[in-house]
């Protein structure tokens, strides 16, 4: 059996095409151009988060603090503006904090050897708890009237919301980083076999810190786009399924949880399938419980398939790997 012709990416691509064909026939208005735009738009924020998650997972890690960083950094930023802080100062302060949290994640994983799943779970909870209890008074913070985020939220090019372009630009940048830069290629080596990567002189640890900083920055951008379109940021999003959806998109697209495999193309395919599926389920009036059931079944199938196609490498597997 030739496994090259039977990889997960192709299976998902075929599944996506099948769903599209079914929807185009069964659901009038599905292929409507505005519906297609709204599908792409609905997965932009999810896709940006999935790009960050992909970078981390390819390097054999996972970042569970992304949604917390996304919501709380922007909530703090908006709260600073409400308190009258200067725009530039607020932005610099929050950016510094975002980079700091990413660096803490990376440092604890790289130098303290704590499994990433625990580190990022803890920092995510800490970020949420600290900002929510110390900084913001209620669980939603609005965008101040007349702020530039309002303009960004209303921005359209050829009728397409700006979120879509930001997502595509970031996807392209991530593609260039992973494919054509030295540090990007090293992500794969470090993810495939960290010990060997270290032995040949790759700075495995500083690069690990870099990956978590990148995912934190991508979370912040995703948060700003959310705030721009809703004109407020709701910290309740931490309790939503968003984080699972991000992992769903990443894993479904075919980025192996054991690291070293996959790329931006996988994120795009995964995001497309999930976006189309959610859209179809909404148009067909499928209830939320069934939507969750369908999504979880797909995730389970993807993880089983991932385990089968990308078995753990006994030689390089470590305690705490996912």
């Amino acid at each position: 059996m030739n496994f090259n012709s039977f990889n997960q990416e192709r299976i998902v691509l075929v599944a996506t095409v099948l769903v599209v064909l079914f929807a185009a026939i069964a659901l009038p208005g599905f292929l409507n151009i505005s519906n297609v735009i709204s599908i792409v738009r609905s997965i932009s924020v999810l896709g940006i988060l999935a790009l960050g998650m992909a970078i981390v997972i390819i390097g054999r890690g996972i970042d569970l603090s992304m949604v917390a960083i996304m919501a709380m950094s922007v909530a703090w930023y908006l709260q600073l503006l409400h308190a009258g802080t200067d725009e530039t100062a607020a932005m610099l302060l929050v950016l510094a904090a975002v980079i700091f949290i990413g660096a803490v994640n990376g440092f604890l994983v790289a130098y303290a050897d704590v499994p990433p799943i625990f580190v990022t779970l803890a920092t995510g909870l800490f970020v949420f708890g600290f900002i929510r209890s110390q900084v913001i008074p209620s669980d939603a913070v609005t965008v101040p009237a007349g702020h530039w985020l309002e303009t960004v939220g209303a921005l359209r090019f050829a009728g397409i919301p700006v979120d879509v372009f930001v997502f595509l630009a970031l996807a392209f940048a991530t593609f260039i980083f992973l494919r054509f830069t030295k540090w990007g290629r090293y992500v794969y080596y470090a993810g495939d076999n960290p010990a060997a990567a270290r032995n040949i002189g790759i700075p495995v640890r500083p690069m690990l810190v870099l990956r978590y900083v990148l995912s934190a920055l991508l979370s912040f951008i995703a948060g700003m786009l959310t705030a721009a379109s809703l004109l407020s940021i709701q910290t309740r999003v931490i309790n939503s399924n968003l984080l699972y959806d991000v992992i769903l998109v990443t894993v479904i697209g075919g980025i192996g949880l054991s690291g070293g495999k996959g790329g931006v193309r996988n994120v795009l395919i995964g995001a497309a399938l999930i976006g189309i599926l959610l859209n179809v389920m909404t148009i067909a009036n499928i209830s939320l419980l069934y939507q969750n059931l369908i999504k979880s079944t797909i995730l389970l199938a993807a993880i089983i398939l991932d385990g089968w196609l990308n078995p753990r490498d006994e030689q390089t597997a470590q305690q705490g790997d996912i």
Binding site: S138, D139, S229, L230, S232, N279
Partner: protein, 304 residues
Amino acid sequence: MNILKSAIGAIAIATATFAALPAAAQDPGPEAYKNALEGKRIVMVPMAMGFDLAQGWAGYLSIEIPNFGGVFETRDPNWSVEAGAQAIAEAITSDPKPDVLIVMAPDMNSYSKLMRRAQKAGIFVFLIDNPANFKADAFFGGDWTEMGRIEAKEAVRACGEGSSKQIGLVQGDQTNATSLFQYNGIVEEMAKHDGFEIVAEPFSNWDATTSRTVTTTMLQQHPDICAIIDFWDGDAVGAAAAIREAGLSGKVHLIANGGGEKSANCDAIKNGTYGAVVSTSVERESLRYAGNDEVSASKQRQAG
């Protein structure tokens, strides 16, 4: 002008009867309150702190209860059902036990067993805002079916006779009583109006981004929709964004439901984001509650 009409809209008051407390219900005087509350410990477990309903309850209770010599504490499960269950379990086993447990149930069933345990341990259990499958000592909160009816009436009024008569819903979830009862009320009221139909009823899971996405899809599938009822103002900003982005502001009347978060809602009504907000009056509910008075919930169309 829709906004103006909403502003003039009459105050609709629906009264629901609730069980009165056995103690001190006869004498409303301060002496009786003092006797009832002196040295008593009252613990509130809302779904989360930091949103209008919970802050409203906590705001009034934390003034009234200590004034009459009681102790008032809150726990913040922060929208987590598990954390809420833990807080209740911890309250039951704590020493001294609280005398009263005030619970805002996240859904119909999750806390039922725990609350029964609390009752068995001799704690009075009160439910606020959200009904549950549990015989509480008292329930304080809105009549959600009636809220649904009022929302449906407002939708029918806003659409008018000459309209498409198509109405869309953005429901919350399938387990929370407020969502289920509102839905029943809306369906019941709609049946009375000839030609009006609910063309789509997606769920937001109380999340603003989801509300935006499903509303965008709904408006594309049914461009003639004349009114949308979103089950909570916490996520209706998403539905509002979808309407704005579809260029249908002023054409689609958005009706949201809220717990009295006045500043944001009134701004939203004035600038046309919301058409109307049907609101429970948490001030009146909680003030009467603290006074151990017979409570009647009142709903009013709040127009800023």
